[in-house]
């Protein structure tokens, strides 16, 4: 995603305009040498949903509420679609900076509807998991999407 999606000027602009971005290594004990792909003159493009057990894009409100989360690789178009879903859902869950009382129900319902609509297996499973329980960034398990590779495969 780094050399394709996050190098895309349009993605960078939208992310910069709407989000504050952070990253975390979910498996810090795994030693990966720098320059693993050095000398590779062409980017490897993965299909959407690939590496679902390694990668996740999570969108949250600053109060910690997880609004949307998608496992696996996302190309620029899929990433922007997910970001737009999160933005629209956040606008429904919050009135200004104030969280609505029924924000959790709105979030769960939106994910249920999205799960029914999408034809993408990985995305559908992600929506289903998010519809089940309200999640907070602080309590978000790093293993939330572990096992999703089976859905992708």
């Amino acid at each position: 995603m780094r050399t394709v999606t996050f190098s895309d000027g349009d993605v960078a602009r939208v992310v910069g305009d709407t989000c504050v971005s952070a990253w975390r290594n979910k498996r810090p004990d795994m030693k990966i040498p720098d320059g693993l792909y050095k000398g590779l003159s062409w980017s490897i493009r993965f299909s959407n949903g690939a590496a679902a057990h390694n990668l996740a894009s999570i969108f949250a409100d600053p109060d910690g509420t997880v609004i949307h989360a998608v496992p696996g690789v996302l190309d620029p178009a899929a990433f922007k679609e997910s970001l737009e879903f999160a933005r629209a859902l956040r606008a429904r869950m919050y009135e200004g900076a104030v969280r609505r009382k029924d924000a959790d129900q709105i979030c769960a319902e939106a994910h249920r509807v999205a799960a029914d609509k999408t034809e993408d297996r990985v995305l559908r499973e992600a929506h289903k998991r998010l519809a089940g329980k309200a999640l907070n960034v602080k309590a978000l398990p790093a293993t939330l999407f572990d096992g999703m590779q089976k859905v992708y495969s």
């Binding site: 190098s7 989000c19 504050v20 952070a22 990253w23 990966i32 690939a50 894009s57 999570i58 949250a60």
Partner: protein
């Protein structure tokens, strides 16, 4: 005269091909990406591009603090590896 391959040899060949194919599907020991996950190659490799494009913070807590002050969302990327390096 038509030469027929003995069925035992054919079976062994199929088995060998299967084993070779499944070995090629094995996850990369470092990044656990299967070769068949690779779709296509199409753009010039640009490791520097992402560093310039998106401004990354090192902690979610720090990002949340800034997002709260600016009324923006937090985008959190969980990865395996170091975003500052060219690993997976």
């Amino acid at each position: 005269m038509v030469y027929r391959w003995p069925s035992g040899i054919v079976s062994v060949l199929f088995l060998t091909c299967g084993l070779v194919a499944s070995a090629q599907e094995e996850a990369h020991p470092l990044c656990a990406c299967k070769p068949r996950e690779v779709g296509r190659s199409g753009s010039r490799n640009d490791w520097e591009g992402y560093k310039k494009a998106v401004k990354w913070h090192y902690s979610v807590e720090e990002a949340m603090k800034i997002a709260r002050a600016e009324g923006r969302m937090v985008f959190w990327q969980q990865i395996v590896g170091d975003l500052d390096k060219e690993g997976c």
